[in-house]
């Protein structure tokens, strides 16, 4: 297992290096000039050239790459852990990602945990009673949840639960405007509020997470339920289940065996979805005014903020690789053949 992990990490590093170089060149093919956005109200030739110089865009591409990586004398670069400075906010990209990423991780992780806990039993029930009422209900729910994009559900939830019923807090971000956030330790509001001994802030942070999490759970549960149901149904038709039933094992134990077999492909889907949602949660972040990494990424792209784009892509990719590695390890634990 140890060699397997080392091998996977090594492959992941090679992927990251390749991606770094590819992204560096690809974003420079974007159909606009970042210097022109900067000069904005003063796009004189002199100001434009000044902006290009400030951004280092007047240097040859390889010199720019060297500076980005930290191989030139212009200052620290990526190899020293410096992602550069945002061209929009003039803040270090590393610290901005450290601020925005936990918001998304908190949202997506809680959503996936709940979606997982909800979807697996629902999928199992559907598979254990094929054609039954619960199975039909699961089918209808799957169709319903997946029929509209998440931002539509988010806006609907805001309208119903905040505006019409007044149950949920306003979609104003992670906390009420009147609340001071706890000192940032981990970046996760729920954890930092507890570390700071502020249970009221913890509760408020949870309240503000309710609707965005509900939106994501509502949308994510559809495919997970379908996947679990199909895999479970397939596992229940397998020979080892037939044998277990014939051997007179209790139905609960047989179902557990079948679930283990069904979980491997389902975990793959969940892993892929999780990686996707790190950047894909942007619509939900937008609806609920959450300052997450997705919003940061979109803003970076729209403003042609090269250092921010590069930083976000690298961090999301690295995280996705870690998630995929984790999924593979779980896969390997479920099915030892994977390691070999």
């Amino acid at each position: 297992m140890g060699r397997y992990i080392v091998k996977r990490v090594a492959v992941g590093l090679v992927q990251l290096i390749g991606l770094t170089v590819a992204v560096f060149f690809l974003i420079r093919l974007l159909p606009a000039d970042p210097a022109s956005r900067l000069v904005g109200m003063n796009p004189s030739r002199e100001a434009y050239e000044q902006a290009r110089h400030q951004l280092g865009l007047d240097q040859p591409l390889l010199t720019q790459l060297g500076a980005y990586l930290g191989l030139s004398s212009s200052g620290p670069g990526l190899l020293e852990g410096d992602f550069g400075t945002s061209w929009v906010t003039s803040s270090p990209v590393g610290s901005e990602i450290a601020t925005y990423l936990p918001v998304t991780l908190e949202l997506v992780t809680i959503s996936f945990l709940i979606a997982f806990l909800v979807s697996v039993p629902i999928g199992m029930v559907g598979a254990l009673n094929p054609g039954g009422r619960s199975d039909k209900a699961v089918f209808v729910y799957g169709l319903f949840a997946g029929s509209q994009p998440e931002f539509w559900w988010g806006l609907l939830f805001v309208y119903v639960f905040f505006f019409a019923l007044g149950w949920a807090p306003a979609p104003l971000g992670s906390l009420s405007p009147m609340t001071s956030p706890p000192p940032s330790v981990t970046g996760f509001l729920t954890i930092d509020s507890l570390l700071a001994g502020q249970p009221d802030v913890f509760v408020e942070a949870l309240q503000h997470l309710v609707l965005p999490v509900a939106t994501l759970v509502f949308v994510l549960s559809g495919p997970i339920v379908k996947m679990v149901r199909q895999n479970m149904a397939r596992a229940l038709r397998a020979d080892f289940v037939l044998y277990a039933n014939c051997a007179g094992l209790p139905p609960a134990r047989v179902a557990r065996y079948a679930l283990r077999a069904a979980m491997a492909p389902s975990m793959t889907l969940i892993g892929i979805l999780y990686g996707f949602m790190l950047g894909g949660a942007v619509l939900v972040e937008n609806v609920f005014s959450l300052p997450g990494i997705g919003q940061y990424a979109v803003r970076a792209v729209l403003a042609y903020d090269y250092p921010a784009i590069q930083g976000v892509v690298l961090v999301i990719t690295a995280l996705s690789l870690v998630v995929y590695l984790g999924i593979d390890l779980i896969h390997a634990a479920i099915d030892p053949r994977i390691v070999h």
Partner: protein, 559 residues
Amino acid sequence: MRSFTSLLCAMTVASAVAGPLHAETAKTILFLAEDVPSGLDLDGASASITTSQTGMVNIMEPLFGYATKGVNASGITVPDFSKFEGRLVESWAFDPKTLIWTLHLRHGVKGCTGNEFTAKDVVYTYERGKSVSGSTPVGWFLANVASVKGFTADVFKNPAARTLSPDEVKAVDDYTVTIAQSEPNALFLPVLTIFGTYIFDATLMKAHATDKDPWAHDFANNVSPASFGPYCVERWEKNQEIIFKANPNYWRGKPAIDRVIMRRVPQSSNRMVILRTGQAQLTQNLTPREFDSLRGAPGLKVEGVEGNESLFIIMNFKIKPFDNIKLRQAIAYAIPTEQIIKTGYFGQAKPWHSIVPSIYPGYAETPTQYPYDTAKAKATLADAGYPDGKGLEAFHDSFQLTYPAEKESTVGPIVNIIQSALRQVGIPATLNPIPLAQFGDRTLVKRDLPFALNDYDKAIGVDAGYTLQLFLVSANKGGIANESDYSNAYIDETWPKARVETDPAKRNALLADMQEQAMKDVALLPIVEFKTQYALSDKLTGLSWQSDSSERFFDLKLQ
């Protein structure tokens, strides 16, 4: 399914326990904005972003401002552009022989840090501007437009030229400053009201200078350059919120609102529903439809001002077939202005009869106009050599009407109206939304968009000459926002004369001629001037408007 329902119920019950959250407490308002300041440096990367400007104008102070004209029918306080008043300047004098302005500064003005405002702050501000050390040299640009001596393009080529000389800007004593002009230029006072010329607290800025960043741009962009304005920065989380607290030392008196929480709510529909619940007191940049739906809503009011926002079409003179004046005129006659006002702006706009905002000094309604007339449009199109549009199919790419994709919710209905109207007379227009940054690059720098709709760019310097210089003078002669790549010898020759003309009547006559020339040529096709609108609590009064459209929190009062 049962589990999921239970979960949803549990979640909603948990929320119900919290109850609605009330942001409004005494002397605090919640202002919902599409974004919060990305930076607060006048010469920084975010200086052209309007939400960043909102931060700047509330924490810093200009030398000059406009006197108040009164309150318009909608309830907004509007400025009198014919009358300047001193802000940090108490009185001033101009010597036309030496072209020197002598500014007598206000005594006893204290900033957020308690530092007292003196002449050294003014000199520092101009030194910093001339250093062109920021990523966007806005301070230099504005001083250049105002013909402040020494602020020439030479600073970009010659590092030695970046040092401010006493014969340019000089502190005579602690409360007297002289600023010299290189030529007589009536733009001096209008330009010194613009946010990019607001005054820094030199002591504060120097305390945060480093060897690598001697003009403290990082500090201004990431902490706060709050100087002598009505508000200071209490907390600032980029991408989320900024909280302004009243500057107790403000020279016009402590602001009536103690704290202003500016919160980012990117979805305009969410800004609207939050405002309707009473949890927020002010918002802007809703779509015309959303503003319209809020009219008459209980506890709310929608206020608007006919300011300087407008909708116009760009037809690139260097790209065929828009080099054909008859074609441009045919398009002008084909635009259904009234339908755009009714459907696109819900009546909150009016036809635009020149290329300068109609409230600006020097505006002239031009004799040449292009009222909506499809028969005339068809006839002019035939005169252009394209009867019923025959022959235009060869220019498919040129007729892509380009607009910023981020503006879809506002201009979406309008571009569809224009497309239908043009097709009706035989012009094969298609629609081409592109990202705003790309739109800016292609209109302002590359100037390679053949056909575009713009409701975004405006001249915030309140003067017809300032507007005409930016939008109509040839790009190589200072027309830095000449989006249609228009070049006309008469305009290029007339502007330098108008710029130095000291007789206002003669200057206005020259500016009127320039406007007429541009309208004849359809240099830009003006369509409508639309109202700048705000939605606010009916308990909030005193809203004022300035040409940058940024709210001045000092003017607000909460009942």
